[in-house]
Amino acid sequence: MFGTQSKRDLSLEIQSQIPILRPSIHARRANITVKFQDLYGFTVEGNVDDANILNEVREKVREQGRVWWAFEASKGANWYLQTHVTSALKSSLKFSALVNAITLKKLIRKGIPPVLRPKVWFSLSGAAKKKSTVPDSYYNDLIIAVEGKLTPATKQIDHDLPRTFPGHPWLDTPEGHASLRRVLVGYSFRDSDVGYCQGLNYVAALLLLVMKTEEDAFWMLAVLLENVLVNDCYSSNLSGCHVEQRVFKDLLKKKCPRVHAHLEALDFDVSLVATEWFLCLFSKSLPSETTLRVWDVLFYEGAKVLLNMALAIFKVFVKQLILTSQVDAIRTCFHTPQLSSKPIKMHAWGY
């Protein structure tokens, strides 16, 4: 259902008729547990309050949609393409372009409406430009050329396909597996230093869900690894990831000295929880819409948002962390449902 160009307007469809949730309800003592699918087809489980939060989120997403449409109406459909620093600020320094750039940054930090994500991401991340430097048939040729080839990378990819968001209504189907396989295998041949690194399976899967077409997802993956993230995040010994962890530790020490000192005293290495965040870009730890909000900023402003997000998560749990002296309780602080039911404040997104 998510796989083809013709279904591009899926999220528009979802958006225009977002129902008030009437989830199936299982009473469990005083708690009511509900289960439903979020905007991107992931199963969500939580209590009734969580369901209300999700309804609020959907309302906010709709509001954001209205704001974006209003801009399109007044400034033209592709107004945001004329704002990029290189094209606007450097070359023409036109006042309106500058205003647009500031507006756009603010808008993006509040979230790109799901229906516009493929288009906005593709142009603002540099994926479109990257794609335009090679012949149109690049992706198809690549896929055909590598078909049937077996390498250590393809073996590991095959192993992980059914283990990537198992149970998802599209990803966990033969069609979804085949699509994800082509993107990952194709990329492993494009850059043999990276080949395949576990973690990319989740990233590519979410890109497929957002971009709707395999080829666009492939280019987003390429621009992400080649231009957006720090170098060598995923190659042979994950050196880029080690660098990120180091930077994050220093940042935590500076911004949350009490938490840092407390964890240090317990001999708890923050990398124990943060490694997965950086390698999966939060896709395995945060709800899909929340993850994609982070990615909205990632593709426009760059990789520093990952550090800010990690810091924001720590800030949310400051009190709990300070009171905790058991390693498993610390780990529990970062357990997904708890993480996600707290509003994560935008303040940490500033500088």
């Binding site: 979020d38 969580d50 906010k60 690194c197 990398s271 945060l286 929340t290 390693v327 498993d328």
Partner: protein, 211 residues
């Protein structure tokens, strides 16, 4: 140390082994009693805890289930540092995974805690018809290297609880006033299995809209 009837021990345990050997499945079986045909692949590491009663004491395992892909190797020291126990897992249907297991053993012997209790698990024992590594070969290796060895199956549950029990029994019980790294005596009742589900919960609710 004299036991006083509620002697509680915390022990950090790490699982190491090739990708796909069944580390996550063993933990899931032990902690939740479940088996999934398709277990989400582990990135970095996942954390679980589970408490076992052994004789007159309870042992609370703090379990780090690590990612098996070769390039994640550089992260491993962070997980086995200070561990009181390790389970090195291989898949009996893959000779490569056995070779990889031996490398882990060597590394732990060189870099790990010298008092670490080490177990070698030959997993997927239910796949007898595809076996590539004999139990004898593994047992000989384990004996030579001071590990204890069991063949396990996360699928049928064979020997899964047993291997954790055996580790719990072998953990050094006498605690000098100074605790060795990775082991902390706690003086409060053990938490139930509730804490066990720590790394569950996949995509869930949330909001970033507070401005």
């Amino acid at each position: 140390m004299a036991t006083n009837g509620h002697n509680n021990l915390n022990a950090k345990l790490v699982l190491l082994g090739d990708m796909g050997a069944g580390k996550s499945s063993l933990v899931l079986r032990f902690v939740k009693g479940q088996f999934l045909e398709f277990q989400e692949s582990t990135i970095g590491a996942a954390f679980f805890s589970q408490t076992l009663a052994v004789n007159d004491a309870t042992v609370k395992f703090e379990i780090w289930d690590t990612a098996g892909q070769e390039r994640y190797h550089s992260l491993a020291p962070m997980y086995y540092r200070g561990a009181a126990a390790a389970i090195i897992v291989y898949d009996i249907t893959s000779a490569d995974s056995f070779t990889r297991a031996k490398k882990w053993v060597q590394e732990l012997q060189k870099q790990g805690n010298p008092n670490m209790v080490m177990a070698l698990a030959g997993n997927k024992a239910d796949l007898e018809e595809k076996r590539k590594v004999t139990a004898d070969e593994a047992r000989v290796y384990a004996d030579e290297n001071g590990l204890f060895f069991m063949e396990t199956s996360a699928k049928t549950a064979a020997n899964v609880n047993d291997i954790f029990h055996e580790i719990a029994k072998r953990l050094p019980r006498a605690q000098p006033t100074q605790n060795p790294a990775g082991m902390v005596l706690v003086d409060r009742p053990a938490e139930g299995a509730r804490a066990a589900s720590c790394s569950y919960g996949f995509q869930n609710l949330g909001t970033l809209y507070s401005v």
